[in-house]
Symmetry: C2
C-alpha cells in the first residue's frame, strides 16, 4: 500500500459480543465455554478478530451470524476496550457490541458447535480478560436505554402480551412493577397494536397479544420515554 503513515504502531482489533436473551422469566447471556486456546476451559463472550478489509460493524455481524445463524439482530456498539494488557497473549483492542435477540429464534445447532450456552445473568460465571467489565457496561446500557426507548421489544417474540412485557422489564431492572400502572403507561404510548389474538398457552385468563407499531416505533425512537418508576430523586 502506498503513502502509509510511517513509524506508527499497528495492533490487533477484535470484536466481542454481549448477547442478551429472555426466556419469559429471566434475562440470559449467551456465553462460550472455551474449548480452544487461550484460556481453554474458561467462560468468555463470543468474539473474533477484525479482518483486513472488513468494516467494524460487519465484523460484529459476521461473528453474531456465525454463532446464532441470525442476520437481523438488534446490534449497537458499546465502545472500545483498549487497556494495553487486557489480552495477555498480545495487545488487542476490542470493540464490544451489544445484541438483543428473542431467545427462541437462534440456530441451536450453531450454538452447540461453538460450545455456547444460555446462562442466567444471576448465575453468570467469571469471564476471561475484561469480559466481565463488558457485561457490566452492557447491562447498564440495557437498563439505561430500555427506560427511554422501546428496545426491550427486541427480546420478545413478534406478538406478546403486556404481562410478558412487564416480566421482561422486571427482569431487566430486577424489581417489581405495579401491574396496573405498567399496563396503563405502556398502552398510553400508542405504540402497541392489538392483534386480536390471545395467548392460548396460559393456564388462566388469556391475555391479549399485541405487536409493536413499527412506524411509530421509528418516529419515537429518539423521544424520551419514562418507563421506570422514579425511585425518588
Amino acid at each position: 500500500m502506498m503513502n502509509r503513515y510511517p513509524n506508527q504502531a499497528r495492533i490487533l482489533v477484535a470484536t466481542d459480543c454481549i448477547i442478551f436473551g429472555f426466556d419469559g422469566e429471566e434475562l440470559k447471556l449467551l456465553l462460550i465455554k472455551r474449548n480452544f486456546e487461550p484460556e481453554e476451559g474458561k467462560w468468555s463472550l463470543m468474539g473474533g478478530f477484525l479482518k483486513e478489509e472488513e468494516d467494524l460493524e460487519a465484523g460484529a455481524k459476521r461473528i453474531l451470524f456465525d454463532l446464532t445463524g441470525l442476520n437481523n439482530i438488534y446490534v449497537e456498539q458499546l465502545g472500545a476496550f483498549g487497556k494495553v494488557d487486557r489480552d495477555p497473549v498480545e495487545r488487542t483492542l476490542s470493540v464490544a457490541f451489544f445484541a438483543l435477540i428473542n431467545i427462541r429464534d437462534h440456530d441451536q445447532e450453531a450454538v452447540r458447535m461453538h460450545n455456547a450456552h444460555w446462562i442466567s445473568l444471576k448465575n453468570k460465571p467469571a469471564l476471561i480478560f475484561d469480559h466481565d467489565d463488558m457485561v457490566v457496561l452492557a447491562l447498564e446500557h440495557l437498563r439505561y436505554n430500555a427506560a427511554l426507548h422501546p428496545i426491550g421489544f427486541e427480546l420478545l417474540p413478534e406478538a406478546f402480551t403486556i404481562p410478558q412485557l412487564q416480566k421482561l422489564y422486571e427482569a431487566i431492572y430486577d424489581m417489581q412493577i405495579d401491574r396496573r400502572n405498567f399496563s396503563r403507561k405502556i398502552l398510553s404510548t400508542g405504540l402497541l397494536i392489538d392483534t386480536g389474538a390471545k395467548n392460548m398457552s396460559a393456564p388462566t385468563k388469556k391475555a391479549i397479544l399485541y405487536c409493536l407499531d413499527k412506524d411509530k416505533y421509528q418516529k419515537k425512537f429518539y423521544a424520551f420515554w419514562y418507563f421506570m418508576p422514579s425511585q425518588g430523586k
Copy 2:
C-alpha cells in the same frame, strides 16, 4: 513478543477528540485548521495515533493535554469508527472521545501552536474523513446525557449563575426554556450551593453565584434527571 496470534490483521488505531466549549452565548467546538498532511488546509478534529504501550484513554488524554494544556478534563468515550476506507491513506480505526471544557480554562498558546480555533457549532465547516459523523454523534450524546445528568456544569466556570446555566442548556438544545420553571427545577435538585457572592459583571440585577455540590453530584450521577421539557409524547 511471544505467543502472538498468527495470521491476523494488525491495523492503525487513532483517537479523535470532539471538544465542546461554551462562551456564555454559544456552544463551540475546538477545531484544527490543518497545516500538515494529509488533507492540509482542511478542518478536522484534534487526533493522533495510539502508541504501542499506551492505554486507549491515556492516548486520548495525551492528545487533549497536548492541545489544551489541561489535565483534568471531563472525557468520555463516544465509540469506535471502523469503516475500512475512512482514512484514504491507510486503514485506521479511530476511537472518538468526547470532552467538555470551560472555554476560558485552556492554554491559548498551545491552541495557537496547533493552529486550532474555537468555532461556533452553527458555523461549523465541513471536516475531513468521518469527523462530521463524530460531531453529530457527540452532539446527540451531549443532548442525551445533559437531559439526565449534570454534565453541563463541566462547560461553566466553578461559580456560575442560574441564568448562565439556563443559557447553556438553551444552547445545547437550541430551544427556549421558561426562566422561572428552569430555576425552580434546578434548585429543587439540591445540587447547587449558594456561594454568597453575586455576579458583579452583569449590567443590571446581579445574579447569585452558585457552585455545584460535588458530593451530591457524585451520588446522584446515576439518578435520572429530567431537565428538558417533555416536548409532548
